[in-house]
Symmetry: C2
Subunit: 197 residues, 2 copies
DNA sequence: TAAAAGTCTTAAACTAGTTCATTTTTTTTC
DNA sequence: GAAAAAAAATGAACTAGTTTAAGACTTTTA
């Protein structure tokens, strides 16, 4: 059976943890919505109740909140083959505090809350898929929330560069600063220092 | 059917997300190991391959790593009705980088990796239980890794006190400092400042 | 219950990271 | 491809949090 590129990417992502029959694959894909976001456009804004969880098939987006002073804090950069959204708002149906903005023209596959619930009824194997997906995300967030607090900004930058070498070149220094948790000015100093070494 | 106190606590924890028959409850409980840890004793040390995931029925433990300088960084305080362990080491069977030490005499129920895998075969409903458990932990870690980076130490202390009022009184200021991510000296200053306000 | 060990407080000198202001460089837009 | 807008670099003055050291208070242990 032939699938378009974006569907193949998603099916491979799922095949890491569970095996689906052709029929199940088609059923699953029928529950998804295709979404395109232009560069600088918002996928989600604070106050929205998020309708979907997203799988990125093309592009790059930044997920962030604004603090009381209006300063952005980026919690992740989402690129191809990543899942994103606001799980809290998606589950509780309460308004999100997050913004998700495309930093490149992006294409996504979204699953609505109704279809997410339906999915577990129709193909119970997906409980396992999400159990493992959340377990792995949890492991990396636990590590990150530890690291974030125990490393200096320079060490966090070096770690990020090592872990996501491709992403570093796709984002601005300013956005990287908002992710690392420092000012753009200090980010600039760190980068010139690290490059000199 | 009568269950002992520790088992009732665990069964109620599970009943938040899934319903079990009496038979399933008994089957589940039979897969668990009872563990006691004296104050100051270790449940786990860096280098160990962790054999269990733990549910705490009594007491308090601190979960931490040591950085290159030997300074501790506490990632959580685990008390009654909490789950703890090192999920990464448990899943990959690689050595852990964590220490888990009892700060009070503690009692736990542990599930081994073998029995964890068996559980999903015997009672597939547990896929759903862990899917939701990990989903919720993930939501709170995502929030925390954001907050950790955007708040000052004083704000993080006030948040912790509001969120875990009971735990604050059970731990030392020194351990709280290692959790907040500051020195004990600065923790002391913050506390006397906040109390004066 | 006395001694030892660990915890908490205070203070002075220090450093990682911020703020504000200005200039240069790069990217976007028409 | 010129003008406008945004991002990056640099530097000086500032602040949140660290380090070191010493004394007071509490808890643990023999």
């Amino acid at each position: 059976m032939y699938y378009k590129e974006s569907h193949t990417l998603l099916l491979n992502n799922i095949a890491r943890f569970i095996d689906l029959t052709e029929l199940e694959k088609q059923k699953y894909l029928s529950l998804l919505t295709e979404i395109k976001v232009k560069k600088k456009a918002f996928l989600m804004q604070a106050g929205d109740v998020t309708k979907y969880e997203y799988f990125i098939t093309k592009g790059c987006l930044k997920v962030y909140t604004l603090d009381e002073d209006g300063a952005p804090h980026i919690s992740m950069f989402a690129v191809e083959d990543y899942w994103t959204g606001d799980l809290a708002s998606f589950m509780t149906k309460k308004p999100t505090r997050y913004f998700i903005k495309a930093t490149e023209h992006s294409e996504l596959l979204g699953i609505s809350r109704t279809n997410y619930d339906l999915l577990f009824q129709e193909i119970p194997k997906f409980e396992k898929f999400y159990r493992i997906l959340y377990q792995r995300s949890l492991i990396s967030y636990i590590r990150r929330s530890n690291h974030g607090i125990s490393l200096t900004a320079e060490e966090r930058y070096i770690e990020f560069k090592k872990k996501y070498p491709k992403i570093v070149n796709r984002i601005t220094q300013k956005d990287l600063a908002a992710y690392i948790g420092i000012t753009p000015e200090f980010m600039s100093k760190i980068i010139s220092k690290v490059n000199r070494m």
